[in-house]
Symmetry: C2
Subunit: 455 residues, 2 copies
C-alpha cells in the first residue's frame, strides 16, 4: 500500500507548526480585541448565489463547488451535458461552494443579521478560505485570512486606529522594518480629473503603479502607450518627484490637486490620518504616503493600505475604505473600512527570521520517567499535583529503556525530566534533570512546582 497523501495545495500542520501558528493567530486576535473588534465565524459553505459573480470570471472559476447530495443527476442539465459545458452543468448539480474569501461572507452576514448587530459593527474573523488556484511556493488552495472591519460609520478615526492596529500586531510579532503605505482613492480620482482624462483613471494608476520598477521614463512611456495625452502626462509628472516628509507631500498635493474637489477631499482625509498618527506616534512602523498604491481600485473609495517589510517580497497586509460592500446584498450606503493580515506570508517571515518566543510552557514541561508499575503509580500522584498547578506534564506510558524515554523527552522538546526510583519514593526528594543544561538536582515536588510556576 502506498503512503496516503493530501490534495495538492493543502497542508497538514504538525504540533511544532501549530504552536507557531497559534502564537501568530493569538497575537492578532488579542490586538483585534484590544481595539474593540469582536469575533464572528461564518460557515465554510455558502450558497452558490452568495459567492458567484463577486470575484470576476476568474474568481468564479477558482471557487470550489460542492456536489449536491443524493441522486443529483436527476436534476442535471441535459443540454449542458450534451454540449459538454462544464460551467453550465455545474449550476445544475451544485448549490453550495466553499468560501473564497472572508469579505463577501462578511457582507452577507451583515445584511442577514443587520437587526441583531450594534452599529458601527466592529468584527474580526480568522478562518480558512479555499481557492482552486494552481499551487506554487507560498500559494495554497487552503489558507487563512485574518480580517478586521468596521461597517456603519465613515469616521476617519477608524483609519487612524487601523494604522495603529497594523503597527501593534507587527510590533508584537517583532517583525522588523515595517512600512505602512497609505493612499486615498479620492486622490487617484483627483489626479485623473486634473489631467482632463478622468475616464482613464485605471490606465493611469496601472502605469503609475510601476514607478518603482520602471522609473519615471518608463511610466511616461507606458502612459503614452495607454493613450494618455501629452498635456495630461505633464500634469502627472510632479507625482514622480514627490518626496520629503508626509507634511510637505500633503502641501504639494494640495497645490497639485487645487482644481479637483474630490482630490482635495482625499488629501484632507490623508492629512487627518497623518496628523493623528504624528501626535500619537507608532511603536515601530513607518507610515508613508504612496501615490502608486492602487489595490482594489474597483471597490475602495477612500483610504487604501498596504504593509510591507524589507524581509518579504510583496505586501504582508492590506486594506482600505469601501462605501458599498453590502450593496450587493441589498443594504445600501453602509460605509466601512477594513484590514487583512496575510497570515501565511507573515508565518513565512516569522519562520525565516526565527522570531518565535520560547514555547516550552505550551508544550509539555515535565516528563515523569517510568521505572515500573510501582514507581508509575507513585508518579501518578505527583503528576496530578503538577497538572493541578497548571503545569503541562505527562508520564512515559511504559517501563521502557531509559534511553528510549529520554529520546521521547528530547523529540518532544520537554525541558525537565523527573526520575523517581526507590530512593526518591523513600525520601520524597525527586531527581530532576534539566534537559537543556544536562544538570541533575534533587528537590521535593513542592519545590519543583514552585520553580516551574515562577518561571
Amino acid at each position: 500500500m502506498s503512503k496516503p497523501s493530501i490534495p495538492k495545495g493543502t497542508r497538514d500542520f504538525l504540533p511544532v507548526q501549530m504552536v507557531r501558528r497559534n502564537y501568530l493567530f493569538e497575537t492578532i486576535r488579542s490586538a483585534f480585541q484590544k481595539y474593540g473588534y469582536l469575533p464572528i465565524e461564518t460557515p465554510a459553505m455558502e450558497k452558490m448565489s452568495t459567492l458567484m459573480g463577486k470575484y470576476g470570471e476568474e474568481g468564479d472559476r477558482l471557487i470550489f463547488k460542492i456536489l449536491n447530495s443524493g441522486d443529483y443527476l436527476t436534476k442535471a442539465n441535459e443540454a449542458a451535458w450534451a454540449a459538454k459545458n462544464s460551467n453550465q452543468f455545474t449550476s445544475s448539480v451544485s448549490e453550495k461552494a466553499l468560501r473564497y474569501d472572508l469579505t463577501v461572507p462578511f457582507a452577507r452576514f451583515v445584511v442577514q443579521h443587520q437587526n441583531e448587530l450594534a452599529f458601527p459593527f466592529k468584527r474580526y474573523q480568522i478562518q480558512p478560505v479555499w481557492r482552486a488556484d494552481r499551487p506554487q511556493k507560498g500559494r495554497y488552495r487552503e489558507f487563512f485570512q485574518c480580517d478586521a472591519d468596521v461597517v456603519g460609520s465613515d469616521s476617519l478615526l477608524y483609519e487612524v486606529e487601523l494604522v495603529q492596529l497594523f503597527d501593534e500586531v507587527l510590533t508584537n510579532l517583532r517583525i522588523p522594518d515595517v512600512t505602512i503605505k497609505i493612499n486615498n482613492r479620492k486622490i487617484l480620482t483627483g489626479i485623473a480629473e486634473i489631467t482632463g482624462e478622468a475616464d482613464k483613471i485605471v490606465d493611469m494608476t496601472v502605469a503609475i503603479d510601476k514607478l518603482d520598477k520602471i522609473g519615471e521614463e518608463g511610466v511616461v512611456g507606458e502612459l503614452q502607450e495607454r493613450g494618455i495625452g501629452a498635456t495630461a502626462i505633464e500634469k502627472i509628472k510632479p507625482l514622480f518627484t514627490l518626496t520629503g516628509s508626509n507634511e510637505s507631500i500633503v502641501a504639494s498635493m494640495n497645490v497639485m490637486l487645487a482644481e479637483s474637489e474630490t482630490g482635495l477631499k482625499g488629501v484632507e482625509e490623508l492629512k487627518f490620518v497623518f496628523d493623528a498618527i504624528e501626535k500619537l506616534g507608532l511603536k515601530q512602523a513607518k507610515l508613508q504616503f504612496d501615490v502608486t498604491l492602487a489595490r482594489g481600485l474597483n471597490y475602495y473609495t477612500g483610504a487604501i493600505f498596504e504593509v510591507v517589510t524589507s524581509h518579504f517580497r510583496g505586501s504582508i497586509c492590506g486594506g482600505g475604505r469601501y462605501d458599498d460592500l453590502t450593496g450587493i446584498f441589498g443594504l445600501k450606503n453602509l460605509s466601512g473600512v477594513g484590514i487583512s493580515f496575510g497570515a501565511d506570508r507573515i508565518y513565512d517571515v516569522l519562520n525565516d527570521l526565527e522570531l518565535y518566543p520560547d514555547f516550552s510552557s505550551i508544550t509539555t514541561q515535565v516528563l515523569f520517567v517510568n521505572f515500573g508499575d510501582q514507581e508509575a503509580a507513585y508518579c501518578l500522584g505527583l503528576l496530578q499535583q503538577t497538572r493541578n498547578a497548571g503545569i503541562n506534564s505527562e508520564i512515559y506510558p511504559s517501563n521502557a529503556k531509559m534511553k528510549k524515554q529520554m529520546k521521547y523527552a528530547d523529540d518532544k522538546g520537554i525541558p525537565f525530566v523527573v526520575l523517581v526510583g526507590d530512593n526518591e519514593m523513600a525520601t520524597g526528594e525527586l531527581t530532576v534533570k534539566n534537559m537543556t543544561t544536562g544538570e541533575q538536582s534533587n528537590m521535593t515536588i513542592t519545590t519543583l512546582i514552585e520553580n516551574l510556576t515562577n518561571e
Copy 2:
C-alpha cells in the same frame, strides 16, 4: 432583493456566541495541553480515496464531495451518465471531499508523517467536520469535533489519564452531575464467549444496550427474538442485576467470566483503571461501569467510554481504545486510545444552564464618548494608554447624540463609559460611568487603568 441566507444545517456565529464558544474550546484546549497533548490540523479537503469506504455505505453517502475544477466533464463517466447513476458518476468528476470526522484524517496523518512524529504520539485536534445529514435540532451539517488521542502504546496509564481529562474539562466548565461510563470490549467478547454463542456478540450487545429503556424482561425478549438460546440467556442474566461499588462489580464479573480468558483480561484492564482513579480521586465526575455500553463495537478493542450528564439527553463525550486505526492506511499494529468532546452538545448544556463566566474582559471594557473633534483628539491619547495597558477599549466614531452613544455601549455590553468634555480636559479628571450600577465618578486615567487592571 430578498435577504441573503446560508445553506441549511450551517450556522453563523455572532460575537456573543463566538465569545462563548471560544471559552469552551479554550477550556478544552488548555486541559489537553496540560496532559501533554499537542495540536495538529489537517486540511478541510481530503482525497476521495482517503475517506470513502471508511464509514460504511451510509457514511459514504453523507460525505460532501467537491467538484473537480476546470473542464471536468471531459473526463465524466458516460456510462454512469446514461444510467443516471449518480454514485458512479461522482467518482469521475470529483477527487476530493470534505472531512467527515477527525479520526480518519488523523489515521492518514499518522501514517503519512510517521517518521516525523515522536511515539507515543499524543495529539489533539479541534476542527469542523461536515456531513450531508438531514438537519434537525442539535444536528448540523457543519459542526466541531474536539478529539484527543494517543497512538503507539497500549499502556493503561492513558485510559486513566483520559478519565481524568474528562473530569478536568467538565469540572472546569462547571457542568454538573457528570458520569463517566466505562466498559471494555473484551468483557463484551467474554460474555459472548461464555454463552457459547460468540458469533452473536453484536445481537447480544444491541439487546443489552436497551436495558435502561425496556428493562430486564424486554431485553430477554429481544435476545430471544435475535435467536439467542435459552442457556445463553441464563448466562447473561446476572448482568442485569450487577449493582454496588465498582469493586464488587469487578468481583462478580471475575466469577461470571471465569471461563473466558479474554473476558478476564477485560476485567483486569477495567480494574486497573478503577484502582488508579480510586486512589487519585476525581474532581467532580463519577466513574461507573456500564456493561450496556457498546459504542464503536467494530473498532474499539479495549476500554469504551461515554460521558453523560443528567442535563442532556444522550452522551456529551465518548471514546475508547482501538488496536488498528492506522491499519487501513498500511501501518499495522499501532494501538491507540482516544476521546472526543461533543462540542455542540456541551455548548447547548452551557447555554441551557447559563454556565458562562463574566466575559467583559474579552469584549470591550471601556468606551470613550465622542463630544466633538477636539475632545476626540484628546481621547485618542487616553485610548492609547488604556490599550497599552492591555484594556480592550474604543472611542465612539462620531459626535452623535449622547443617547445613541450610550445605546452603543449598552448593546455591546461595555461596562465602563468615559465622558471627556471641557472640564475634564482642563482638570485631567475624567468622568467615568459604571454602566451596571449607573454610578458616575471622577478619576484620572491612571486611576481608571489601575482599577481596571486590578479587577
